[in-house]
Subunit: 620 residues, 2 copies
């Protein structure tokens, strides 16, 4: 088991990361605050604050937006918490306290908290667990509350959260229902781990235990003549969509809506870690293995189908029609983090890094104000605009969405990363799980990790301990003259203050997809370290389908566009379009001309105007 | 201009084609008759005959099925007509006469004929031209009527059709409306060409002339507060879907629903031929060029998007998510045929043959009872079953569909082909447009085309004339020791009886898609003659994505499975799946093992159980 040094004790120093977190603090969160207040001209209406004001009785309005609109505020609040742990910001903190006060006043006497049901259907509480998102909203609020209490030491928000949790406990513990969108489970466990209130864990475990067991609860809702559908489309979704097709301990393939899946599996991993129950831990391992070895894009994206934003089947990984929602990859980071916690196996962080450094970071533009929901591996803009099958794919980041899950989810993820860097295992060995320049002080240990290009130094002051430096997939770690390619590089700290230099060298390599991946044949993908690279039209012209990598030798070119990451260049061949003489198909072997194939890091794509992009490239 | 020898004068003798036409006569049409009567256990209900009986007042029932359900009977009747021209079949003819009698009794006093509106909305005639399909139904009835009159000499059906046409003429000639689904235009021209009734042509030309002109008529319907939508989905379709986005003479890209497009363009080509109007003829040429050079699959399939079953944009030709409806390729044959008629350019028949020998013939199973609507170029059955994006794609032919357009459309197309083989131009030169063993007797000419493998003999008896043998794309034609690769091979018939042997040798060749085709890169496609070949799992194992063609030498293996066509075999390499060691992506260059890549003709795919299939194959 690994105990991570919490975000309240650790701090990221890396300038690239700091810049990003500063962007969240100074741009994203103030901008989102304006969005939540419907004060951004041209942006789609959020209704979020208005809904809370109406629920609090401040104004008379009907509910606006989605049934889960409340979570935009909660995710914003959670992000503020992480930011405040890094740096005092009285303006942000005042906004947050104002939000908490508003939330408090929107909470019912009995603890119930939900603006949609309070305003629109006060007598229909918990009648539509499948679609109503009440428990999902509660979960996001509880997560925010725990984070804010940890960051600021203020307890008002925690009181609201415990009141919510008690109301849920009173209502649900003897009932067969569970949320259609998992989230409250992992949140209740966070609340339990912060407060020690066992009833919170009991309720989380109850939701886990009743899911998919016996007469299917979601079927009961569907058959209920009083059921009021929120979305007509939901009628088409099976119980797999909701991960309710089987008892969770019997689930061994990642199914259904990918964000739901990740949130559920994260809770399972937490519960398995806490209870030590083998069946639960084994289910988590199988689910993660299924994701990692059969259902995950090379970018750490998940969700192969736009319809249902969901998993489909093993090896079904189309590069153009996929969903690969940013939020789902955030969920994959959450699940991976918890698997590492549960098992002390560092390799789960390979997946964590894959998701973070590619899909999650691709989600937000350099300006902090534009976002991708869907993260394609292949885009031809004229096709996405003219073919409805690709209608969900955008070739440029959008400013905000009606369903604004991803932007605040990215905003809460980035500043919380300091809590994912260091861990102690049961023998008090110190793990450096991911190599982000940072520092912490906790449990008598003072450590800092400094970075100068590929050179790292771990400064350590504290008692004697074993130190384990995780070797990330895609890197060679050099420590004391030894080369490590996997697992951890270990050293023994004799106590006192000492500095341990090591080197982390990214490996540039070509990847090949398993032959069962239908769109993978004949193609390769270039990676360097954790970063997936891609071709963009900006550097390579149009019709990327006509470009072949012909030589696997890769040279690096420095660039100031990608936060220090180089452009990668391989020799290629370009099909000569004159060979087709205006026809669509030719039987003449096409001429080719030598060319350079210029690759940039995937997560920076789409920042230089609209154009084609592809990750999997033809090879000769 | 070409004048084709009509189906009533020509007769196919080729045993493979005869077998197929016999299948239509002895299996498909009797089976469809039972379907139309809802007498096939397990099949989806048709309601078709029931609707006519109800409209005729024989029974009291509401309308069942789609608004265009009547056309199932009309297409069946048209198919019966072509079959009867080939071979007397008193049982079929009695069924047809029974059907005509029923149709006659379902027709209103004023000539109006439509069971849906008659039964459900008698006062809403012509208020929903966008979706109501009244004119579409009329068109299919008129086509059937002309065919049946030609085939049998019976005129009762023609009287009904002329009554329909007169009613339409009275109603529409001074109105801005036109059909949301083109079809009546080409049908009215057929009726005009058979009867000489000029008002029929006037009305067809009127519909053509008002389409997309001035204040958009479809927009007017949309804005009409009384508009009763047939399909909610139709609200999402733009005027391009209906080819009503611009005056037809200004349309130069193939847009919208591909069947609608083909039926409209066919009418334009007929009208252009008859009027000689340059603007109309030029528009047709541009539209056909756009299809042939930018928007057509190598199989002659059209319609890149399932949503809207429609054209999307140039070069957008995904192999897995496409629609490629069988009916659309029948439409492409119709348009190609008419372009050849209009211009005397034989190359339009390359497209005609591409569509016929691949997508259209793939549409019907060997048993005549199972059909493909959607004709994919790449199928992995486990993906089509689990990914809703591919939900419209089936890996095996289905017995009948709720919207039963394709089966009767195939049934009417196959026996009518005898009318597409021979033509005379304005100088009375005789064209052999496509090389199907057959014979005709017309206009003082008696001809027969015999086939023995690749050896053909044209037996000719008649006046002196030039004979032009079209050289089909993908063949070498040898005549009198000369090799022809394109255009026509000409000979001079001095008059009297003579036999002209020639040889038609299919060229086996690899094709490459234009680099703008996003899914085309790194792949090749094998063709022999007109036939596209494909890999099937049955012959090549699973994971066709892991199979590469490594040597372009192709050997032929005789087979008795494909009506005399050989299996084609190329040397290939198969990725060794052990290289992945259970992972999804590997950075180790994968091992390969030599293997055979065994190709079968595309149109026979899916006849040997369910499995993977792909047309575009990776190449090393």
């Amino acid at each position: 088991m690994l105990n991570f040094i919490p975000f309240t004790k650790a701090r990221i120093n890396d300038p690239v990361w700091q810049k990003r977190i500063e962007l969240v603090r100074t741009v994203v969160l103030p901008y989102q605050w304006e969005i939540l207040h419907d004060r951004v001209p041209g942006a789609e209406r959020s209704y979020c604050i208005r809904n809370f004001k109406a629920a609090a009785g401040d104004i008379k309005e009907r509910h606006g937006g989605m049934v889960f609109q409340d979570t935009d505020l909660y995710k914003w609040l959670e992000a503020v918490a992480y930011v405040l742990a890094v740096q005092a910001d009285p303006t942000l903190e005042a906004m947050a306290d104002e939000a908490i006060d508003l939330i408090s006043r929107a909470q019912a006497q009995d603890g119930y908290l939900n603006t949609y049901y309070t305003l629109e259907k006060p007598h229909r509480r918990y009648t539509n667990l499948m679609e109503g998102h009440e428990l999902y909203c509660d979960g996001h609020f509880i997560e925010a509350a725990v984070a804010y209490a940890k960051a600021t030491g203020k307890t008002k928000v925690l009181d609201i959260a415990l009141k919510v949790a008690r109301q849920l406990h009173n209502y649900f513990m003897d009932k067969p229902g569970y949320p259609g969108h998992p989230e409250v489970e992992l949140a209740l466990i966070r609340l339990y781990e912060h407060t020690g209130e066992r009833f919170c864990f009991d309720l989380a475990l109850h939701f886990i235990n009743v899911r998919g067991v016996g007469e299917n609860y979601l079927d009961m809702e569907r058959q209920d003549k009083e059921h009021e559908w929120v979305w007509e489309d939901m009628k088409r979704f099976d119980n797999k969509y909701f991960q309710a097709h089987a008892p969770v301990r019997e689930q061994d393939t990642a199914e259904g809506h990918s964000v739901r899946a990740m949130y559920l599996y994260s809770a399972l991993a937490d519960a398995g870690r806490i209870t030590g129950e083998t069946a639960l831990c084994d289910a988590c391992k199988k689910l993660m293995d299924n994701v990692r070895t059969k259902r995950m894009y090379v970018t750490g994206g998940i969700g192969s189908s736009s319809f249902g934003e969901r998993f489909t089947t093993d090896y079904d990984l189309p590069n153009d029609t996929m969903y690969c929602e940013t939020c789902a990859s955030i969920g994959l980071m959450m699940f991976s983090h918890r698997m590492a916690k549960m098992t002390s196996e560092v390799s789960y962080y390979d997946t964590w890094e894959r998701a973070l450094y590619n899909t999650v970071l691709a989600g937000m533009a350099a300006d902090g104000k534009h976002f991708f929901y869907v993260n394609p591996l292949e885009v031809v803009p004229v096709n996405t605009k003219n073919n409805v099958t690709l209608g969900h794919v955008h070739a440029t980041r959008q400013s905000w969405f009606g369903v604004a899950c991803c932007p605040p989810n990215v905003a809460r993820t980035l500043p919380s990363l300091s809590g994912s860097i260091y861990a102690l295992d049961e023998d008090k060995a110190l793990y450096v799980m991911t190599h982000i320049a940072s520092a912490f002080e906790d449990q008598g240990i003072k450590a800092s990790l400094n970075k100068q290009g590929e050179e790292f130094t771990l400064q350590l002051d504290g008692p004697p301990m074993t130190v384990k430096l995780r070797v990330p997939s895609g890197f060679t770690l050099m420590l004391n003259g030894e080369e490590y390619r996997q697992g951890t590089a270990q050293l023994r700290h004799p106590g006192g203050a000492a500095a341990y230099p090591y080197r982390l060298m990214p490996i540039t390599r070509w990847l090949y997809a398993h032959p069962a991946v239908s769109q993978g044949g004949g193609k390769c993908c270039l990676m360097r370290g954790y970063e997936v690279y891609c071709l963009e039209e900006k550097d390579n012209g149009t019709h990327l389908s006509g470009l072949y990598v012909s030589d696997q030798v890769v040279t690096e070119e420095p660039s100031d566009l990608f936060d220090g990451l180089p452009v990668l260049v391989a020799q290629g061949l370009r099909l000569n379009e004159q060979s087709w003489q205006g026809e669509l198909y030719t039987s003449t072997t096409p001429d080719t001309s030598p060319c350079e194939a210029r690759f940039i890091p995937y997560r920076y794509w789409g920042n230089r105007g609209e154009g084609e992009m592809r990750v999997w490239v033809n090879m000769k």
